[in-house]
């Protein structure tokens, strides 16, 4: 045990002395939190709508007004039937083209029914769907108002109605940052823990100090633990930074117990860092470590539920996700932070991550050969 103390002392001195480490520990979390959380938003804020109004009636003008009054839509109005609206879509100048046909109002009054054509640039399918659903509900609203005013009633009611009233718990105003910020913290903690420790270990191989340690009576687990613990501490510092920024900048509420969060994070880090060190033990150069870790990290992040819900993935992907430590951690951090979940609510996640950590740490220790 004493040997471990000396090794840790050495690692900490080296880290503190390494100037390129400081920006990673202190600047990266701030920059990443600010950029990632702000950039990663699926909230639709603006959509360019090109309206080709060939009717120029009261009804059509009301629709255009309603569109213009909506902050989501930026309306470009054209009244020329020969205008090449498609070209605007091709140039990316408009996201949506709404065609109001000639005699729109007349046909609606006469036939009781009329259709409206919308063309949406659907390359980004998510945005396209959102835009369409906003448009759809806006037109429905407009339709209801129009109907009521034409029929001379204040509100038109169908024979029976079921009122579905949504309640949004844990984030009533649907702030996207509350969803992203905890997720980004997990990514930061993982990148710092996994990359730094793995690169650090393989660097000793590259410069040759590893060989010197290999002829000493150091136990294998002592060496791996000495590579893990300092970066575990740093990762937890980064987590604290992240929480602070989330609180100060995004006003993220924290309903859970800090101790629970740090406990879970430590167990989680044991797993990802174990994997990183395992990669490092089987590699010879920093380049290999870097790209192998990148490879795993990419898969883990994409499948973690950071961007999209895990339930939407195909069955095989959901099954595979049980091997993904980030999948557990994403769930844990969101539940602890926003819902105040405790240890017993998440005991399955805890045990899974603990198992993962023990296996990965053992693999790294076992695969590490004290040879040249």
């Amino acid at each position: 045990m004493k040997i471990l103390r000396y090794l840790l002392q050495k690692e900490f001195i080296q880290i503190i002395r390494n100037k390129s480490m400081w920006p990673i520990i202190f600047v990266m979390p701030i920059v990443q939190m600010l950029i990632l959380v702000n950039a990663a938003t699926l909230e639709l804020k603006k959509s360019d709508v090109l309206v080709v109004d060939q009717d120029m009636s009261d009804a059509s003008r009301q629709l255009v007004n309603k569109l213009e009054g909506n902050p989501f839509f930026k309306v470009i109005q054209v009244n020329d039937a020969d205008f090449d609206a498609d070209d605007q879509l091709l140039k990316g100048k408009a996201n949506v083209v709404l065609d109001i046909p000639q005699n729109f109002e007349r046909d609606l009054r006469r036939d009781n029914k009329v259709s409206l054509q919308l063309r949406v640039d659907a390359i980004n399918s998510m945005s396209a769907e959102l835009t369409w659903s906003y448009m759809n509900s806006l037109i429905r609203d407009y339709n209801n108002n129009l109907r009521a005013s034409w029929m001379g009633v204040s509100k038109f009611d169908p024979p029976q109605q079921i009122v579905v009233s949504p309640r949004y718990w844990y984030n009533p105003t649907l702030i996207y940052a509350f969803y992203m910020a905890p997720g980004v913290m997990v990514i930061l903690v993982t990148v710092v823990g996994m990359f730094l420790s793995a690169v650090n270990l393989v660097r000793e191989k590259e410069i040759g100090t590893m060989e010197q340690l290999n002829v000493t009576p150091i136990k294998k687990y002592q060496f791996i633990a000495a590579k893990m613990i300092p970066f575990l501490v740093i990762a937890l510092v980064v987590l604290s930074f992240g929480l602070l920024i989330a609180k100060l900048v995004f006003n993220l509420p924290f309903h859970g117990n800090l101790l629970v969060l740090y406990g879970f994070t430590t167990v989680f880090l044991l797993g990802v860092m174990g994997l990183g060190l395992f990669i490092s033990v089987v590699s010879d150069t920093q380049q290999q470590v870097f790209f192998l870790s990148y490879f795993f990290l990419l898969i883990f992040i994409l499948m973690s539920g950071l961007f999209t819900p895990v339930e939407s993935m195909p069955k095989w992907a959901q099954l595979l996700d049980h091997l993904n430590p980030l999948y557990y951690m994403m769930k844990v951090i969101r539940n602890v932070v926003l819902k105040g979940s405790g240890f017993f609510d998440l005991k399955y996640e805890f045990l899974s991550m603990l198992g993962y950590g023990v296996v990965m740490f053992s693999l790294a220790v076992m695969r590490y050969r004290k040879t040249a």
Binding site: K10, E211, K370
Partner: protein
Amino acid sequence: MEKENTVIRVRDLVKKFGHFVADDHLSFDVYKGEIFGFLGANGAGKTTAIRMLCGLLEPTSGELTVAGLDGFKQREAIKRRIGYMSQKFSLYEDLTVHENIRLFAGIYGIPTRIRREKTEELLEKLELTSARKKLVRDLPLGWKQKLAFSLAIIHDPSIVFLDEPSGGVDPVTRRRFWDLIYEAAHEGITVFVTTHYMDEAEYCDRVAIMSAGKIVALDTPEALKKEWDATSMDGVFLKLARSNE
């Protein structure tokens, strides 16, 4: 020197990498307190041999006993009783002189009190007392070598292995370095050293000359010079090489 003083016993030791035979049936003994030289050109198999003796490589076949321990089964136990210094003399460049001493003393489990005494003693001997807080990176090459050697024997091992320890320095610095080696040998530490400098071979008690994975000659430098009718080890080496062609 008597047989019961054998600290390294090697019989028919073989190391293969795939089909390539790096060391081919090596057999020799090294006795307590002697300076044993391993001589040969680059690629002759010296480094592979020394790495097997240190427990850094597992031999393919043969017999190997180091400090009374089996070189196949007790490789970790061997590491307690030996010191090692490689051609890269792997000190931590971003640690200070004192921090390096503390680390290696700590790894070998030297108690704190004894470590403090040893540290002072060592710094004084190497004339590094005023440089104790200097980063190793900023020391001249010769100093780094001396420090690395002193650290390799800080735990009083019975054998110290030196793999081309004095590369890249001038003969005067090399000579000073060898003073340290003699001192260690006087204190009873057996020294096993590989080199391709012929002047270094002259400093050894006995020398084994390797070529293409085999030991082609083994004796005291004087005996070898006599046998090959040469005035220096350089001459021995040249004549040996010619006879093997």
